[in-house]
């Protein structure tokens, strides 16, 4: 399943899932293949959000150690190994974006706010480039422009929907429903059904 880019793998157990389950037995020697299969997911996810290779490498390292440590919590009935690792990586990458943002805000509090806020603009062509090869790409066309904008801002900007609403000058409930409807359409387009 690794390297497959056209569609989301069906929720059946893959060899990578099995390898991840097997490494929860505590033998570090079993982790090598798991690293090889899943580190590109962690790195790609982190890089998509952080855009900085050094930050992304640090996050990948943290995530892969976490994958090893918490392998017993992985449940192949609920998610593929790929999704599990992408989720962990995204959480950490977003955490890093937000703490960097908070640090910048603190450092720059007394400076000109136009310098201090250093907006993480999510530029359209940049998004296109980052989406190259993503399973979700063809499905983004199924979204309305406003749904797409809200989902993409939240995904690549690492923003809360509140911040997305601020940036887009839209009402909170509006943005909340754009994200909900947007992800709902993507789910249907990708054919994601569990349970």
């Amino acid at each position: 399943m690794v390297g497959q880019t056209d569609e989301v793998p069906p929720p059946t157990t893959t060899p990578v899932d099995a390898a991840l389950v097997a490494c929860s037995g505590g033998d570090p020697a079993t982790f090598g293949p798991v690293y090889d299969a899943l580190a590109p997911v962690a790195y790609g996810t982190s890089l998509g959000v952080l855009r900085d290779p050094d930050h992304a490498a640090e996050v990948t390292q943290e995530v892969m150690v976490e994958v090893w440590q918490t392998a017993a919590r992985f449940d192949p009935a609920r998610a593929s190994a790929r999704t599990w690792v992408a989720t962990l990586a995204r959480r950490r990458a977003v955490d890093r974006v937000r703490s960097e943002q908070a640090r910048r805000d603190r450092d720059q509090r007394d400076l000109d706010s136009s310098l201090g806020s250093a907006p993480r603009d999510v530029v359209a062509e940049d998004v296109e480039r980052r989406l190259e090869g993503a399973a979700v790409r063809r499905c983004l066309d199924a979204l309305t422009p406003t749904q797409r904008e809200a989902v993409v801002e939240a995904y690549y900007g690492g923003r809360t929907y509140r911040e997305v609403a601020d940036r887009l000058g839209a009402a909170l409930p509006t943005v909340k429903s754009r994200i909900r409807d947007g992800l709902g359409r993507l789910r249907d387009c990708l054919g994601v059904r569990r349970g």
Partner: protein, 243 residues
């Protein structure tokens, strides 16, 4: 409760995108604990979010660094019954690691196995502290000159500060539990750098009380922090009280 769960359902997609704030995150996690349908819906949204990921080869040196660390790191063996596979996993540790970045990863194994002991030690320490504080609290409660200040808590409940002499007794009623892996932490705010002022103990009878010594005349704030507290706040305050 039904309303809260309704709101949590609404937030589920944003939660899957990590696009919620800390309070909303907890609202959603309460729903996930209670409702297997919500967990299933989350699993689907997570798969959608993961489909944005484009695999990319990490720098080669990472492999050796990770495997070396893995060889030196014990696994967390227990699975929490009914817990989501990728939900709160590592949430607390990633939050507490914010400030220290990769340096803290080396200590992660120690943290993982040491948690029960730490909790026991902390409870013991809190009890001793409470005994020592009991006299002072009784004095404060009996002080006819004591002042009361109340303020609403974001996310629910109300905090009351009883100001007597130099000290402040903070009572929080109806505040949500901090959630697994988190604590409510008190701060004395004066100028730009908040001083840590201890953790709010678990509520008994819906009320949690903490003595903030030397807090009188200053601003007392409460934030949500990784279990055990932080040296400096990592989230926005849910309540600030000017005493």
């Amino acid at each position: 409760m039904a309303d809260e769960h309704g709101e949590a359902w609404e937030l589920l997609p944003a939660y899957a995108l990590d696009a919620v704030d800390d309070l909303e995150r907890r609202t959603v996690e309460r729903l996930l604990d209670a409702d297997p349908d919500a967990r299933r819906a989350l699993d689907e949204y997570r798969e959608v979010v993961a489909s944005f990921a484009v695999e990319q080869a990490p720098p080669e040196h990472l492999r050796g660094a990770v495997l070396e660390r893995v060889a030196a790191t014990a696994q967390a063996t227990s699975r929490v019954p009914g817990s989501a596979p990728a939900r709160a996993d590592g949430a607390a540790s990633s939050r507490s690691r914010r400030r220290w970045g990769v340096l803290a990863v080396a200590a992660a194994a120690v943290v993982a196995v040491a948690v029960p002991t730490t909790v026991a030690v902390r409870e013991h320490r809190e009890n001793v502290q409470l005994e020592q504080q009991a006299d002072r609290v009784a004095q404060m409660l009996a002080d006819p000159g004591a002042q009361l200040v109340t303020a609403p808590v974001a996310g629910g409940g109300e905090a009351t500060a009883l100001v007597s002499g130099d000290d402040v007794l903070v009572s929080a009623a109806g505040m949500p539990a901090p959630g697994e892996g988190h604590d409510w932490q008190l701060w004395i705010v004066e100028g730009d750098a908040p001083e840590p002022a201890g953790l709010m103990p678990a509520a008994s009878g819906g009320v949690s009380r903490a003595l903030v010594e030397g807090g009188a005349g200053k601003v007392v704030a409460v934030t949500l922090e990784p279990e055990g507290g932080s040296p400096a706040p990592t989230t926005d305050p849910v309540v600030t009280i000017e005493t």
